[in-house]
């Protein structure tokens, strides 16, 4: 057992090991942003209500504002910075950009990660499954429809393994 107010913490974030000395009461959100410079994870309500701070832990979305880093030693953490691979944006990121599913963008990292976790479990989710999976993320700008459509487009592109153009109706309304 240990009982110290500053702790040495080893975290694995986006596939890289990091070791640092942090005050034990700093949340994962604060450590990601302030100590690791990973400011893609957003600071919203800090009370578990908005999902702006969501990251993936072992592939599942969790709220970094309600997590202590020391609790996550030995787990795989992914932030939005880890989504792009080999210089290429993730299909979800491309679909969000193509369809205007981000306006101010503050909520986007949380949505992208929650959606990534969903698409890993189900490659062709229904609209209701998408709504359920994204229910913990708030967006004050888009009205959500573009976000759902972007997740559907990304899922389609990932299934076909190619870049399909968004449908006209999705781009310009019906």
């Amino acid at each position: 057992m240990s009982s110290l107010s500053k702790l040495r913490v080893r975290l694995r974030v986006n596939g890289e090991e990091h070791e640092m000395l942090v005050p034990v009461e700093k949340t994962l959100l604060e450590v990601l942003r302030e100590d690791m410079g990973l400011t893609g994870t957003k600071h919203g309500c800090e009370l578990g209500e908005c999902g702006a701070c969501a990251v993936l832990v072992d592939g599942k979305p969790v709220l970094s504002c309600l997590a202590l880093p020391v609790e996550l030693e030995g787990h795989e953490i992914m932030t939005v910075e880890g989504l792009a691979a080999a210089g290429r944006m993730h299909p979800l990121q491309e679909a969000f950009a193509d369809l205007g599913a981000a306006q101010c963008g503050y909520c986007t990292p949380g949505f992208l990660l929650a959606a990534k976790s969903l698409l890993e479990q189900s490659s062709d989710p229904t609209r209701d499954e998408i709504k359920d999976a994204l229910a913990g993320n708030l967006c004050r700008c888009t009205g959500y429809i573009k976000i759902y459509e972007a997740v559907e487009l990304a899922a389609r592109r990932m299934r076909s393994g190619s870049e399909t153009a968004p449908e006209q109706a999705v781009l310009y309304g019906r």
């Binding site: 057992m1 009982s3 009370l47 578990g48 997590a67 609790e71 229910a135 913990g136």
Partner: protein
């Protein structure tokens, strides 16, 4: 920012109980309610004792004899998706799936869900209310639309858990470890009313922790359901909720438990609603009688009288959804 504390990672239940004996020690399982309370300064922590690494406290498994053991660290997401729970105890799977948001369900544990602190905005805010050692319940003549209609007495919180009414409906047992050893009680006896002790929501003594829950084997003919009404469809606490477990034999209800959420400081068992069902077929008239029974004796505050018809409606719907197996 939260105030500073020291951190203790307990390797066993025994270590956790010993560490909790220190003044100002607070238990950390999934951490979602604890860290929210620390940030809101509902209380401070001298030390945070984490039990999240204690393997024996996790898992969901069938026991010989047909009961199901749910470790205190099982997450709400695990409970909501577990095949055993979904198949045998729909009321519990539905309640767990309706709680909080997907992210919080991945983090929050069943032990923490049962022991979470109230959501009353005065309690969470900068008010030294009776529950925090002050002399007033600010909700009584204040903003009380989300407060209780049963069982309030000096404090008018509702118990926020969805899983608790489901577990009471299923007559589950909860095991507790503490400085004096372990004990097992009915989940029904875990939560207490303000008149019993206004400073806490459970009968846990200082230094005690929930270690596991055991749900008894489903009886032949068991039908169960959870109906929750909330203000936002995406995720929210219950305005009212209804957990029902009924045993139907030869077309009639032979045993039933009806437990209400969101309406009282603890999961509120409605004996009147149960009596209205037992001995009858599940039909509209039974549903209406049960709903009328459930709201008997309700004492709404100035802003929450809407909970009475809402509860009636939710109860009727829940009963009718059990009309077919």
């Amino acid at each position: 920012m939260m105030g500073s504390f020291s951190y203790v990672r307990a390797g066993s239940v025994k270590q956790a109980v010993a560490a909790l004996a220190h003044d100002g020690a607070r238990l950390h399982a999934g951490g979602t309610d604890l860290l929210g309370c620390l940030r809101d300064r509902v209380f401070d922590a001298g030390s945070v004792v984490s039990i999240s690494g204690i393997e024996e406290l996790g898992g969901i498994a069938a026991l010989s004899g047909g009961s199901v053991r749910i470790g205190a660290l099982a997450t709400l997401a695990e409970i909501a998706s577990h095949p055993l729970i979904r198949e045998r105890y729909p009321v519990l799977a539905e309640a767990a799936a309706s709680a909080a948001s997907p992210q919080l369900r991945n983090q929050g544990t069943i032990g923490g869900n049962l022991c979470q602190r109230p959501r009353c905005w005065y309690f969470r805010g900068d008010f030294i209310c009776t529950r925090k050692g002050g002399s007033l319940c600010y909700a009584f003549d204040g903003e009380n639309r989300y407060h209780c209609i049963f069982g309030g007495d000096g404090c008018y919180i509702v118990h926020p858990s969805d899983a608790a009414p489901a577990l009471v409906a299923l007559d589950a047992q909860v095991s507790i470890a503490g400085p004096g050893g372990s004990r097992t009680i009915a989940v029904e006896d875990l939560h207490i009313l303000p008149k019993q002790d206004i400073r806490r929501e459970t009968s846990l003594e200082a230094g005690e922790i929930v270690t596991e829950i055991v749900v008894p084997p489903p009886r032949a003919g068991l039908r169960s359901t959870y109906r929750k009404v909330r203000e936002r469809g995406s995720w929210d606490f219950a305005l009212v909720s209804v957990a029902i477990a009924a045993v139907v034999a030869a077309g009639k209800v032979s045993a039933a438990r009806v437990v209400l959420g969101g309406v009282a400081p603890k999961p509120w068992r409605s004996i009147a609603a149960e009596a209205a069902l037992i001995g009858h077929a599940i039909d509209e008239s039974a549903a209406m009688r049960a709903a009328a029974g459930a709201v008997e004796g309700a004492q709404p505050l100035a802003q929450n009288a809407y909970k009475v018809p809402l509860l009636r409606g939710a109860l009727e719907e829940a009963v009718m959804s059990l009309a077919r197996p």
